[in-house]
């Protein structure tokens, strides 16, 4: 791990990997969307509306995945003070927030025709909204200090504390009764979703993950370069 924690080496590897990640992501999105929109069948109950699932479910997974990544990176930054961990956590936050927002928005669009309502305060929907607020709070807290290091530390603590929300989101549909249906893919006894619908869903989940890695690399490289520029400016001012 220490080998890759060196920012210079990271920048070299990231520059080489980034175009590959981008093209793999584009290919996965192309194949996944084609299958989701054309080859996947309509649902026996929901009809064509079921296609919202292919956007909604991977977005919700990624909202939680990005938060977990952000919390782990924050823990590494707090405990081992790796310079890249802070940068990775900071770069993840807006991507995760965007995924979470997308899952809430598409869920609302799906809820209206199926359930008969845009929104209901059940445990799953509410805990997902709290996840969005945690992302927003993380980003706000980071910028709230003049001293960047203090902002990074405070927001890392918030990210760690907020991680208790992740199991609550996952198990909310089992612990309490909710309007949202229980899990279909990651559950005991295997998925309760037909293979012709599961494959496009998994392809799109991979595409979303590829997109996250791609944007993460772009944002981390940008942040590291900005840090370099800031240090050079400081040196100039102080005549060092």
């Amino acid at each position: 791990m220490h080998r890759f924690a060196n920012p210079t080496r990271f920048l070299r590897i990231a520059a080489a990997v980034q175009p590959w990640v981008m093209w793999i992501t584009v290919a996965l999105f192309g194949a996944g969307l084609y299958m989701a929109l054309f080859t996947a069948p309509a649902d026996y109950q929901q009809g064509e509306s079921v296609r919202i699932m292919y956007v909604h479910v991977p977005a919700a997974w990624m909202g939680m995945f990005c938060y977990a990544a952000m919390a782990v990176a924050s823990a590494v930054a707090l405990i081992w003070k790796h310079p890249l961990a802070d940068v990775a956590a900071k770069a993840t936050a807006p991507v995760g927030a965007a995924f979470t927002f997308l899952s809430l928005a598409t869920g609302s669009l799906w809820g209206k025709p199926m359930w008969g309502t845009w929104w209901v305060w059940d445990a799953r929907l509410t805990s997902m909204l709290i996840l969005l607020f945690l992302y927003v709070g993380y980003m706000a807290l980071q910028g709230a200090f003049d001293d960047r290091a203090r902002g990074a530390k405070a927001s890392a603590i918030l990210a760690l504390v907020g991680a208790v929300n992740l199991p609550i989101i996952k198990f909310s549909v089992d612990w309490w009764n909710t309007l949202h249906q229980p899990a279909s893919v990651i559950k005991m006894g295997g998925p309760s979703i037909h293979a012709s619908m599961l494959w496009p869903l998994l392809l799109l989940a991979l595409a979303y993950k590829g997109y996250y890695i791609w944007v993460l690399l772009v944002r981390m490289r940008e942040e590291l370069t900005a840090n370099k520029v800031r240090i050079l400016r400081l040196k100039q001012v102080h005549g060092g």
Binding site: P41, Q45, L78, M114, W115, L160, I193, M197
Partner: protein
Amino acid sequence: MAMKRKHKRLTFVIIALALVGLATGLILFALGDGVSLFHSPTDIVNKQPGPDQRLRLGGLVEEGSVVREEGSALVRFVVTDLENTVAVSYEGLLPDLFREGQGIVAEGRMQNGVFVASEVLAKHDENYMPPEVADALKKSGQWKGGDGAAGPADGALGK
């Protein structure tokens, strides 16, 4: 010395997270049923809520119980959790997924033994499949429940 400080921070983070997790667990446990979205017919039969209490009722629409009043949007049906039943009356538009055997959540008040709903929402279950597969399952007798909708798997009842 650096090693020691790292270990101190690691221990501190682990203990702090365990405490936060424990506190959250206790809060959620204390909230208990308050977090749940709806009451089952059994809850309502046991608690006998008054006519002023606004609440949500959830369960399956009993097979053959839906009666539509001629010339109005009034619908009467029975909601069951397979133990107890509650009669519901509702005036308004029903969601597309509303049908017999399907899970629903209704919001309203108990009046003279009938649940008068002001809003009816449809639950859907965790099963996704093409229509042909659903037909094939029904034909081969592997279908777990009522017709038209997925069976009352534990998910449709919500507990």
